[in-house]
Symmetry: C2
Subunit: 188 residues, 2 copies
């Protein structure tokens, strides 16, 4: 196995693009080599199996979609009220829209998880950790709402992003923002 971290990241980024453009079935070592413009066989030097590549993509898309810590830190200097909560949710949608390939790859991984129990297990662990971190952040920051509210915000944001990214003429960004405001207003 090769271990150059930059090369490994570049291959994982290429795998994200292949998943978004071609779907899970299009994800082969050869397709990733081509997309990354590296010699044939390179991807198989970095990932033992296709499943190992899928798991790496699952971890990597979270990094790509994560907020800039400095932005979050600066936002927390504002009043931790409904307006700030709405802004955080719109920021999540902004990042998914700006990096559509990462979010579509995430959806492909979800679907692939229904077919591959080993991927489902790893991916479930990643999602459990991510939601737990969300809940901890929300409660620590003293934003409006309890643990269950955060779960509801999470599930609704999943739905809104999927509607907006896959059928933007159906769920416009204006509609997404309106529904975020509506949901946030119910948080106590």
């Amino acid at each position: 196995m090769r271990t150059n971290p930059e090369r490994r990241t570049a291959l994982t980024d290429a795998a994200v693009d292949v998943l978004a453009d071609e779907g899970a079935r299009g994800l082969t070592f050869r397709a990733v080599d081509t997309r990354a413009q590296v010699p044939a066989g390179t991807t198989s030097n970095y990932f033992r199996t296709r499943d190992e590549l899928l798991v790496a993509v699952g971890a990597h898309v979270f990094t790509r979609l994560a907020p800039d810590p400095a932005t979050v830190h600066s936002a927390l200097s504002h009043r931790r009220d409904h307006a700030l909560l709405g802004q955080f949710l719109r920021d999540i949608v902004d990042r998914a829209t700006a990096d559509q390939a990462a979010h579509l790859a995430l959806l492909e991984l979800r679907l692939e998880s229904t077919r591959k129990p080993a991927l489902a297990a790893t991916f479930t662990a990643t999602m459990v950790d991510a939601l737990r971190a969300n809940v901890a952040f929300h409660l620590d920051a003293g934003l409006p709402g309890d643990e269950e509210s955060v779960e509801l915000l999470y599930a609704t944001t999943t739905g809104l992003i999927i509607e907006h990214l896959t059928l933007p003429e159906f769920f416009s960004r204006a509609r997404v923002d309106r529904l975020i405001a509506r949901l946030v207003s119910t948080m106590e």
Copy 2:
């Protein structure tokens, strides 16, 4: 083009199974012929193009996931309150869980829509009609909430079903039902 409606439906059902099991890239006329256990070439006698088949699947999954009109009619004899609204939403999740292949096919069609503008246009029209019908049903029945509430319920249900179907260990049915109850309680 052949026009035996039962055969056409059987082929569309087979296409749903292929989409759910193999993903969009796996959907070929040949794969549908095999899944439907019909002679090679049958599917191409019923659908001119793969896009025409995708559009037929898009319409058909809505039929498969639709509620039984008699059940809805009988439910409407109860008080049209928050409890009944919660029941309707849990029924939607029940149907998606009972016919997982139909809902996963819907997700594959969403992803395929990001790659095929013609499919996106038809599929958007179907979704707009379906949401409009939902809103009309909700308001006519006098269930709690206004038009925007229905849109919020719809988006959240999308998120909950996708979480539950693709990562059931992450979003258990109990968690889904808890979040439905929480959201419904905010409807005025």
